[in-house]
């Protein structure tokens, strides 16, 4: 037994235990980053440094074994300072501004959920926000300054792999992903590439993960402390509301799953034991499969020629009546081997006791899980729990009842269709590959009216006025106790872990080819890639000689990460545009109608300039378009122009897309004789754009950054307040930016008497006053932002309401993702179904 002192407490360590492990075991927190409980010690990030009496320097506690008599300190001011410095260095190549923001708490309160974007440039638009280790570490360390301005590498976002998105601009080189891959698969397909400041994580030969034969076990995603590596499906759901453990039943292996659950739906599935990674089915197919758009959810009964959605009572009565004449050997029930034991037990009992037939047929899967059933001679009526029969053979049947999870070819022939629940939705027992019984929990809610397989046959027996199954529960309990009871006999085809050897992965489930349902699996199967459109060319690839077409993109560039400047040919907009107005754009005929502020226009050339932030589906489409392509629709100028008079000195506060909007505002105000002071905020220096253009139209330009890397540290409002406190006269302020920035500006000037106007940006639909989607409350009155606005007296706006109206739509979009996305498209980059906005 090793005895040592940590922070004055005497503690015991086990043989070979590291200082970090020992301290953590005793509830003594030592900040750390590259260390991960499921990985061997590494000692790369050095955050976990401690002081040990008698040892030189600051050893890393994650690699230093505990030794008898050691006197260890973990929290001296010197250590804290060192750690802050280390984090500071790390954060130089990370979008770290939000960590340094003085209004961090207010921001978290105003917008607890991260917003979807293409490129993450701060915590508030990072998929990792709610579970981020860097964020909690920075809070713990009181991290508030960067030594020098940070660097943004502009690395392309890697979105061409199935299931996993990578944005290595967020990577802190902790190496966890590289190590976990090596640890689990013996050899890592991801490696550090390059050296020093340009080093990055990548597949060693510059290929995609898919090309490098990645198994998509998702372990790297699970261990990454940042938002660099993300599960594309679960990405924007944030921290799951709850988690539950159950067992995967996609195959016979019986891996333990930990499910992340949101509103009764599974959002993601992870391995319970990090040392036993899941195969791609368990890790990435469970959520899209369970939540598939076209899952069967309502019982259907064939009336005349068409299947009609009916109540359970009707469906069961209909099925019962149809089954009655087929009692005996002419009936067969067919099911997959991957079902809970209880279900199998009931299915057999139903077949044998209610239908009095010996044909409860467990479809025998081949190594890929494909199972077909050859019906015994003379069978005329079948209850099939999947697609196990050839449609041709089904033709010869007198009666086919389907009890299934997805519609398939057989549905055309079915007289009745029962929607069945799936394994995350039912409780029960299964036996894993080692022969151990494993529990299944009803962790998620089945879609619509779907019921468990066993419930359905019990109800069916009830509808047929059979009571033979009524005492089944006891029998079942008894037989479960006695392992190996013949009633539970099931065909076990032990499959070696597919995570280790992808060739062993099961491709079929309930008689259904999984890659046919889930796009990502399809590309694993045939190597088809998700190549996204190539990045927009920096140069103009439009033929300059050709006359422009309506709504054609004349020029396009990414002015700042995630902000795309697009110049469109839209002469009737350009002709009438005035400062402060906006347009509504539809990228293609299926897009949403999305409003964008007019930054600039040229009536003569017939062009307008917009700055588009890549966010949801529709803006992603715009962001991916290139010069020469045309938007489907642009309507505008909309909204009431900015009130232009000679006010004296006008301060223009801008941030995000509001930066561009102020060019036009400044020009117009200046022309009317005003002194124009422009204050532009950005999280960091590399997010500023148009500074020269703004300087050209303003009397004075002040820049602020949240991380202090350029100009004044803080928000635009801080610079304005400072200016006012110094006695400068400001007659009016106009603020354009995200609601948070505008809300802060309004709240903090309320008492000063400064008239302030904010350009509101609620969700809009038509933009002409027809729908009322854009309602906002100003001074207790309802206004339509699209016609009465966008500018309103900032001090009279109900910001809370505005925030909630915007937030709740985000929710609706996310939830509709879970319930309405067709599984076939869930992971396919080109389908637009993944909600990541990709077209």
């Amino acid at each position: 037994m090793i005895e040592l002192t940590i922070n004055g407490n005497s503690v015991h360590a086990e043989e070979g235990e590291t200082l970090l492990k020992c301290a953590l075991r005793h509830g003594i927190e030592i900040p750390h980053l590259c260390n991960h409980p499921s990985l061997p010690p590494y000692g790369a990030c050095r955050i976990c440094m401690v002081e040990v009496e008698g040892m030189r320097g600051f050893p890393t506690s994650c690699t230093t074994p505990a030794a008898s008599g050691m006197v260890v300190r973990t929290d001296t001011p010197a250590l804290q300072e060192l750690r802050r410095n280390i984090l500071g260095l790390m954060m130089l190549e990370h979008p770290s501004a939000c960590l340094l923001c003085g209004r961090r708490d207010l921001c978290d309160e105003f917008r607890p959920q991260a917003e979807k974007v293409g490129r993450t440039t701060g915590c508030h638009t990072c998929n990792n926000k709610e579970v981020c280790e860097v964020r909690s570490l920075s809070e713990e360390l009181g991290f508030s300054e960067l030594p020098v301005p940070p660097l943004y590498h502009h690395r392309p976002i890697e979105r061409s792999d199935p299931f996993i998105d990578r944005d290595l601009n967020l990577c802190i080189l902790c190496g966890r992903c590289v190590r976990v891959c090596k640890h689990q698969h013996g050899t890592s397909i991801i490696e550090f590439v390059g050296r020093s400041s340009i080093s990055r994580i990548g597949e060693a030969f510059g290929r995609t993960l898919l090309e490098a034969d990645c198994r998509f076990c998702g372990s790297c995603v699970d261990v990454c402390p940042t938002g660099s590596l993300a599960d594309r499906y679960a990405k924007w759901f944030g921290k799951a509301e709850s988690t539950a453990e159950t067992t995967c039943l996609f195959c016979d292996e019986g891996c333990a799953l930990s499910l992340g659950i949101q509103q009764g739906k599974v959002v993601h599935a992870q391995a319970v034991d990090p040392d036993k990674p899941l195969c791609v089915l368990g890790r990435f197919a469970v959520a899209p499969f369970m939540n598939g758009f076209d899952r069967l959810s309502v019982p259907q009964l064939r009336v005349e020629d068409s299947l009609r959605e009916v109540s359970w009572d009707e469906a069961l009565a209909g099925a019962g009546e149809k089954l009655l004449p087929w009692k005996g050997e002419t009936f067969a029930l067919v099911f997959d081997s991957a079902l809970p034991l209880e279900d199998k037990f009931y299915l057999k009992a139903f077949t044998e006791q209610v239908m009095q037939s010996p044909h409860a047929l467990e479809a025998v899967p081949d190594s890929k899980g494909k199972a077909k059933v050859v019906l015994p001679h003379g069978v005329k009526a079948v209850l099939s729990l999947g697609s196990f029969i050839d449609p041709a053979e089904a033709e010869g049947l007198e009666l086919l009842i389907l009890q299934d999870v997805y519609p398939g070819a057989l549905i055309e022939k079915a007289s009745v269709v029962f929607p069945a629940a799936m394994f995350t939705e039912v409780a029960g027992t299964t036996v894993d590959a080692s022969g151990t019984a494993r529990p299944l929990f009803a962790a998620t809610v089945p879609p619509g009216k779907a019921r468990s397989d066993r419930q359905i046959v019990m109800d069916l027996a009830g509808a047929m006025h059979e009571t033979v199954l009524s005492d089944l529960e006891e029998k079942l309990a008894a037989s479960l106790k006695a392992t190996g009871d013949p009633v539970l006999q099931c065909i076990r085809k032990t499959v070696p872990p597919a995570a280790a050897d992808p060739s062993l992965r099961r491709d079929w489930f309930r008689g259904r080819y999984l890659p046919g349902l889930i796009g990502g699996l399809r590309s694993l199967e045939d190597g088809s890639s998700f190549e996204e459109k190539p990045a927009p060319l920096p140069s103009d690839n439009r033929d300059p000689a050709a006359p422009p077409q309506l709504f054609q993109i004349i020029r396009k560039r990414e002015v700042a990460p995630n902000n795309h400047e697009i110049v469109f040919y839209a002469p009737s907009v350009a002709k009438k545009a005035q400062a402060g107005q906006f347009v509504i754009v539809m990228a293609d005929e299926k897009s949403e109608r999305v409003p964008y502020t007019l930054c600039d226009w040229d009536a003569e050339a017939g062009t307008i300039t917009l700055v588009v932030q890549e966010k949801g589906r529709s803006s992603r489409k715009l962001a991916l378009m290139q010069a020469g392509e045309c938007a489907a629709h642009i309507v505008g100028p909309l909204g009431t122009p900015l009130d232009i008079q000679n006010f004296g000195t006008v301060a223009l506060l801008g941030g995000c897309y509001g930066i561009g909007a102020h060019i036009a505002n400044a020009k117009a105000l200046k022309e009317a004789g005003n002194e124009v002071l422009i204050i532009m905020e950005a999280r960091s220096h590399y997010l500023h754009y148009y500074l020269e253009e703004l300087a050209a139209v303003a009397d004075e330009l002040i820049v602020t950054t949240i991380d202090g890397s350029n100009g004044i540290k803080g928000h635009a409002i801080d610079a304005l307040l400072r200016r006012m406190q110094s006695g400068a006269r400001i007659d009016r302020a106009i603020t354009v930016g995200c609601p948070f920035m505008m809300m802060v500006a309004s709240k903090e000037t309320k008492e000063t008497g400064l008239p302030m106007f904010a350009a509101l940006n609620p969700i809009m639909l038509d933009g002409t006053g027809m729908c009322g989607a854009c309602r906002v409350t100003v001074q207790g009155e309802t206004k339509f932002a699209c016609v009465d606005g966008p500018f309103f007296d900032a001090h009279q706006i109900d910001w809370d309401e505005l925030k909630d109206r915007r937030n709740a739509y985000t929710d609706a979009e996310l939830n509709s993702l879970l319930t309405t996305e067709p599984v076939a498209h869930a992971h396919h980059a080109h389908s637009g179904g993944c909600g990541c906005g990709r077209s």
């Binding site: 299926k590 006053g769 309802t782 109206r805 709740a808």
Partner: protein, 488 residues
């Protein structure tokens, strides 16, 4: 035929010809259709149409024609059906009604032509609307829609604002008179309410598209994404752009709200928004289309008109449990009887004599319910309608996660606001000479909901025809009086 009618028939002297009963409309069963967006009625077969047509008495002084706002020669087109000349019948119909496939589906015939049908006194009236629909569909499906010979071009250019029924009708008439017509429409697709408001299951968009295509073939130019009042003022259209006359058919697109607390909660929609998301933006086809649908569990729709029925039936199809909340009794609902009937059949619950007092929400500004008060019918007022009065202390809450306000629409103020000398009423409708549809501004005419407030497709069409006729006279140099003072 009801028992009583049978007895009556038996008692009456035997007519020479036994009149067949009114042919019922074949339609999707309520259980099926409440789950899909396909059109509810299938339409008559030629055989059914001929049987139904045979019921018409071909009256000397047809009452039905009086009931029709555009005075369609009803016995005339029915006669052609009797003779099996369906295409000819459609063409005859189109002489007065430019959009029969649409009117046959959405007109309130029970209050118009059919309400005056002589047979209707003792029996059920001739199904004029269904026959109208039948011939129009027949012609279209047979690909027999002919492009008529156009008169020589007059060289006159007419701007039509709004591509709703009023605008489409005016454009069709004017182009057939030899004028060059440009239609300016704010939204991305022509059709007005027909495309953004009335749902697919009641009026397939394909039919609206076919009508628009037909106008395009006639030479009408459509400029979409163009908001008059923003991209150009009417004055500019008349001067800089060189149009000889302007027709305003911009409709009643401003949604009315109740003015009760809680109306800006998340989950409260105007019917316009709710329906536009589904119809124009095709959110029910999400994720093929990008606009996410509003799928909720408990939907309350406030109002009793066609718009309320459309919103309720749309909500049902999106999978919700739907309540209509209406202040008065069922008989007083302004919606078409057929629509109320369809809604009830499909499973929409009616909360009648129920008046919303406030909408209740949670701490995240999300709707959780509506507090309502029970009403009862009081004394008849001057108009003879019994007014609903609240029952003291009868407040109760209807649970809801979505509330759709469908209590009506007001005229869109965008155009009047951009043109101060255009005389408007206190409700914002454009004031016109009803004989000619001329507005207070020379060269400017108006028709449809922008003139009459939210009304009907057929009345918009009727007014548009009048306006087109006047515009024709105006641009050919006849004197037209533009009422300068604000009458009524």
């Amino acid at each position: 035929m009801s028992e009583m009618e049978k007895q009556e028939n038996a008692a009456a002297p035997k007519p020479k010809k036994v009149r067949p009963p009114r042919q019922p409309m074949p339609e999707q069963a309520p259980e099926d259709r409440a789950r899909n967006f396909r059109e509810v009625p299938y339409g008559y077969t030629p055989e059914m149409a001929m049987v139904e047509a045979s019921r018409c008495l071909d009256c000397k002084k047809p009452k039905c024609v009086e009931g029709c706002p555009v005075h369609v020669d009803i016995p005339g087109f029915i006669r052609l059906i009797q003779q099996g000349k369906f295409v000819e019948s459609a063409q005859h119909l189109k002489e007065q009604n430019a959009l029969p496939a649409i009117c046959g589906r959405v007109c309130p015939q029970e209050e118009q032509c059919e309400s005056l049908c002589i047979i209707g006194i003792k029996n059920e009236p001739v199904a004029v609307g269904r026959l109208e629909r039948f011939v129009a569909d027949y012609e279209r499906n047979a690909g027999a829609v002919a492009i008529p010979e156009l008169p020589p071009a007059t060289g006159k250019r007419i701007a039509v604002i709004g591509a709703g029924p009023a605008g489409l009708t005016a454009a069709g008439d004017l182009v057939r008179m030899g004028h060059a017509v440009t239609v300016f429409e704010a939204l991305q697709e022509p059709g007005g309410v027909l495309i953004y408001g009335i749902p697919e299951f009641r009026l397939p968009k394909e039919i609206v598209k076919a009508e628009v295509d037909y106008l395009r073939k006639l030479g009408v130019e459509f400029v979409m994404d163009f908001v008059v009042g923003r991209n150009a003022s009417i004055q500019e259209l008349l001067t800089e752009e060189g149009y000889h006359a302007v027709f305003i058919g911009s409709g009643a697109g401003l949604p009315a709200f109740l003015g009760i607390p809680g109306e800006n909660l998340v989950g409260v929609y105007s019917a316009n928004e709710y329906l536009t998301r589904s119809n124009l933006m095709k959110s029910y086809l999400f994720p093929k289309y990008d606009t996410p649908p509003i799928r909720r569990q408990r939907v309350a729709v406030v109002g009793g008109g066609n718009v309320a029925m459309d919103a309720a039936r749309t909500a049902l199809r999106l999978g919700g449990d739907v309540h209509i909340v209406y202040r008065r009794a069922k008989e007083q609902m302004p919606a078409r009887i057929e629509e109320i009937h369809h809604a009830e059949e499909e499973g929409v619950h009616m909360k009648l004599l129920t008046n919303p007092k406030r909408i209740i929400g949670d701490d995240q500004h999300r709707v959780t319910g509506i507090e309502c008060i029970q009403m009862e019918l009081g004394e008849p007022d001057a108009s003879g309608r019994r007014r609903p009065v609240p029952v003291e202390g009868s407040e109760f809450v209807i649970e809801a996660d979505t509330v759709v306000i469908a209590i009506g629409n007001n005229p869109n103020p965008l155009i009047p606001r951009s043109m101060p000398d255009l005389a408007v009423s206190r409700w914002g409708t454009i004031l016109v000479d009803e004989e000619t549809m001329a507005s207070s501004v020379p060269g400017v005419f108006a028709a449809g909901d922008i003139v009459s407030g939210a009304a009907t497709v057929i009345s918009a069409m009727g007014q548009a025809r009048t306006a087109a006729a006047t515009i024709n006279r105006y641009v050919r140099g006849e004197d037209i009086v533009f009422p300068s003072t604000k009458n009524n």
